[in-house]
């Protein structure tokens, strides 16, 4: 093989090895599952799951370890399915753009409402939420990148880490959860068995 042939061979080898190099740097499936576990800890936390319910009624859980209750006052998703409550009793009748400073006062963030019923997280397994998050039919038509950005940037999602007095925040931070979602996606978005 002449020098041209050697150069071409070397170039071809570089081109062939480049993707493999990138894959070597990608998180492993095990690392992806570990990242997902951090995401699941957030999504299944009462600050998030209480309003990601399958039925019509948001839940209440206050301090860590306190009992879960159905939201009082007959508050519901709304017969129109909007998640903003019923005529005469919208979520925004009590939940304003900021938290009440009083213990047991209404928490607040912009556009307070229930997540769509197909985005259920309340009492759902890690595998179940993982499958839902990856399903555009049940994740609001989002890519994984868009989900990560939604978690980092949406003010109502961000409320979960600043929930006001007497409520346990979701674990970690919005930025940290964004990074875990990125790591999980880079690992091929693996889901746990259970």
């Amino acid at each position: 093989m002449n020098w041209r042939g050697r150069l071409l061979t070397a170039t071809a080898m570089l081109m062939l090895t480049a993707p493999s190099f990138a894959q070597d740097n990608a998180p492993s499936q095990q690392e992806g599952l570990a990242a997902w576990q951090q995401v699941y800890a957030v999504f299944s936390h009462p600050r998030c799951a209480n309003c990601h319910v399958a039925d019509e009624r948001p839940r209440w859980v206050g301090a860590a370890g306190s009992a879960e209750r159905i939201h009082a006052f007959n508050v519901q998703r709304g017969v129109d399915g909007s998640g903003f409550g019923n005529a005469g009793l919208r979520c925004t009748s009590c939940h304003f753009e900021s938290n009440s400073k009083h213990l047991n006062g209404p928490p607040g963030a912009p556009s307070w409402h229930l997540a769509p019923a197909e985005m259920v997280w309340h009492k759902i397994s890690s595998a179940g939420i993982c499958a839902q998050i990856k399903d555009p039919e049940r994740n609001g038509g989002r890519t994984l990148q868009e989900i990560a950005e939604h978690v980092r940037e949406d003010p109502l999602v961000g409320w979960g880490w600043k929930p006001g007095p007497g409520r346990e925040p979701a674990p970690g931070s919005a930025e940290g959860t964004y990074e875990e979602l990125e790591r999980w996606a880079a690992a091929g978005a693996p889901c746990p068995q259970e």
Partner: protein
């Protein structure tokens, strides 16, 4: 800051964190909305902002945007609002403390649903508590008010 209340523009000198209810009662002298719980858990303080019922005890006055209507602003030209008229005809009130809030929520309900069912009424009024237990009369009055409003059209 300026607040638009019942068609009037009012200059209010208040900390933006002050609850709207305090500004209405203690500064503007508008005493219809009542203090019950202070944490949006009873409905006695309910007023409308651009027609939407809100708990004024928990809304910072600095966050208010829009036209505020209190129970004092419901009647027009000396005529009672149909919900107020129905409340009288059904003799709803016992002690009466919660009734301004009850009426404001009922008005908002009927603005969205002209002929509410029992379920619609329960869904709307669940955040307005009445310690006297006048709920059966409240439900009857909402239905009577619906009929009065329809008759007005």
């Amino acid at each position: 800051m300026r607040l638009n209340v019942n068609g009037n523009s009012l200059e209010i000198d208040a900390d933006p964190d002050m609850p709207l209810l305090w500004a209405l009662r203690d500064i503007a002298g508008i005493m219809g909305p009542k203090f019950g719980c202070g944490i949006a858990a009873c409905g006695a303080c309910t007023v409308h902002i651009d027609g939407v019922p809100v708990r004024s005890c928990s809304l910072p006055v600095g966050a208010v945007e829009g036209e505020i209507t209190t129970i004092e602003g419901l009647s027009k030209g000396g005529e009672l609002h149909p919900v107020q008229q129905a409340w009288l005809e059904e003799q709803v009130a016992q002690c009466g403390y919660c009734q301004a809030g009850q009426i404001m929520t009922a008005v908002a309900l009927l603005d969205e649903i002209a002929e509410p069912t029992d379920e619609d009424i329960d869904n709307a009024m669940g955040g307005n508590l009445c310690r006297c237990g006048t709920y059966p009369r409240i439900r009857a009055a909402v239905k009577r008010a619906a009929a009065l409003k329809t008759a007005e059209l």
